[in-house]
Symmetry: C2
Subunit: 300 residues, 2 copies
């Protein structure tokens, strides 16, 4: 399973029972939390997200609607007796903010908390089955987007052929990783004769708060699912630019430029009660657009 569950889809002001930004990525048996606006822990309870499964938290930037729920979540994890490591990746000053608040509360967390300051684009996490990368987005304060990539899956054994060529079973694992087989007499049997390709690894790009910028498309080329912020409808392009945010049309253009398969849009301004127009406008440019509705899981 590789999926993204939306916990909060609103911009700065909570409104119409929409919450500030937070998403949970499920990849195999792990959960990765992306951003953590106020009330995220309550949203997790609502949508039955298992906090103990979260080992990585990614914070895009230090505007409150993206991280004011973090201290509450960390504190609750401690109170619930978590003992295993928690890794947080975020902008430089996050460490100071967390340390200060733990100190004044005289809180000793029962688990190791690792806070990693993001200083440059690149690989943050390299796990056996997935990677997490970051790339800059273009906002009023330093801001990062994230890409979670499933690693390419191993090839599948072509049962009839391995029997025909009498390949020893102990070599099967190497076949899956793409190796050719060499017989005792020195004959090379090509891997592609013996195996079948498996599906490509899928990928998710979270394009946090950002003004429309083609460099975001370049960084996220060909991902399976892109989330791009759409704070405003297209008629407010000027306001969006002034505030380093994007419109529906701009997000859809970036998705198109990046050649992604699907686009999820969110971070809606609290000035909008209904969201239909967001979807409608995005689809005129990029038909595979969807609304990042709270509680919905996008399965990749």
């Amino acid at each position: 399973m590789f999926g993204v569950t939306i916990l909060g889809n609103n911009s700065a002001l909570p409104a119409y029972d929409r919450h500030p930004t937070s998403q949970v990525v499920t990849i195999h048996d792990q959960l990765i939390l992306i951003d953590c606006g106020e009330g995220t822990q309550m949203q997790m309870a609502r949508y039955k997200i298992r906090r103990s499964k979260i080992n990585h938290i990614l914070i895009s930037h230090l505007h409150g609607d993206h991280y004011f729920g973090l201290m509450g979540l960390i504190t609750s994890m401690g109170l619930l007796g978590r003992e295993h490591d928690l890794h947080i990746y975020g902008p430089e000053h996050l460490q100071d903010i967390i340390a200060l608040q733990l100190k004044v509360a005289d809180t000793q967390l029962p688990f190791p908390l690792h806070i990693h300051a993001i200083k440059e684009p690149g690989l943050l996490v390299n796990y056996p089955r997935f990677t997490i990368e970051c790339f800059p987005t273009y906002h009023r304060v330093p801001c990062w987007g994230f890409i979670i990539r499933e690693k390419k899956k191993p090839r599948k054994i072509y049962r009839e052929k391995v029997l025909e060529y009498k390949i020893p079973a102990v070599f099967y694992e190497k076949l899956k990783l793409g190796e050719d087989y060499t017989t005792k007499t020195g004959e090379v049997i090509k891997n592609e004769w013996l195996t079948l390709p498996n599906s490509e690894g899928k990928s998710y790009a979270y394009c946090a708060d950002t003004i429309k910028d083609s460099r975001v498309a370049t960084a996220t080329t060909n991902v399976t699912l892109m989330y791009h912020e759409t704070t405003y409808l297209k008629d407010l392009a000027e306001r969006a630019a002034n505030r380093y945010h994007s419109t529906t049309v701009q997000a859809a253009e970036i998705a198109k430029e990046a050649n992604v398969k699907r686009l999820a849009i969110g971070h809606f301004s609290s000035k909008y009660e209904k969201l239909d127009a967001f979807l409608q406008e995005a689809k005129t440019i990029f038909p595979s657009s969807e609304l990042a509705v709270e509680g919905v899981t996008f399965v990749l």
Copy 2:
């Protein structure tokens, strides 16, 4: 109107749709917010509390369940265009925490924010119609309780008598404040002949997180309504003491010792789903006990 509306009544971990501590005191045309756990701004929306009417916020101590909603509230007030002064009273380091988070977000609030560090017990605010005092409670970190007192109401003019004694109408305001009237011939007409007493001012004491301590009763003697924490039922007195919290029976004993009129209990541990036993146990000691249920307003 003098009343207390409960926005959150749970201790550290949010549970069973109960929220971390927050209360709003309405006194005449002003709102005073006491503590501001995560999600307080959402609870305000739910219970139709007008944020713009809040001019004073009192933070008892720097455990997250009492203040992690503060940054979100302040930021939202700014986004909503607040322009008038906001006064926050709280422990020493609150100023640093707020300043750091505003700085990293590059936020310029459109209203004057005054953060007052509480250093000693006494008067915090002296308004024409009420005062706010603070007193220490006894918790694991420095912690303050608060008393909001309506000022004694002016005396009422005794219509028949002022006519009988021919008191000039311009002197009525002074009569209300208790002054005697002296005639041109030097004769003193006693205030109590000319006026009737009005009702006494009412008072509310918020006894924040605390271990059971008689000094809390001394500080809050004779208040109209006391809120006292009851994190645990009486059978967990040892755990309560270890964690600097109180049980139902202890809270009720303090209310009795302080000779208050009514007691509201809250700050329930998330280990309890049902609250009936809290009320039952408190009432065995102090019959005028009530549960601080979220959304309920205690009218003084």
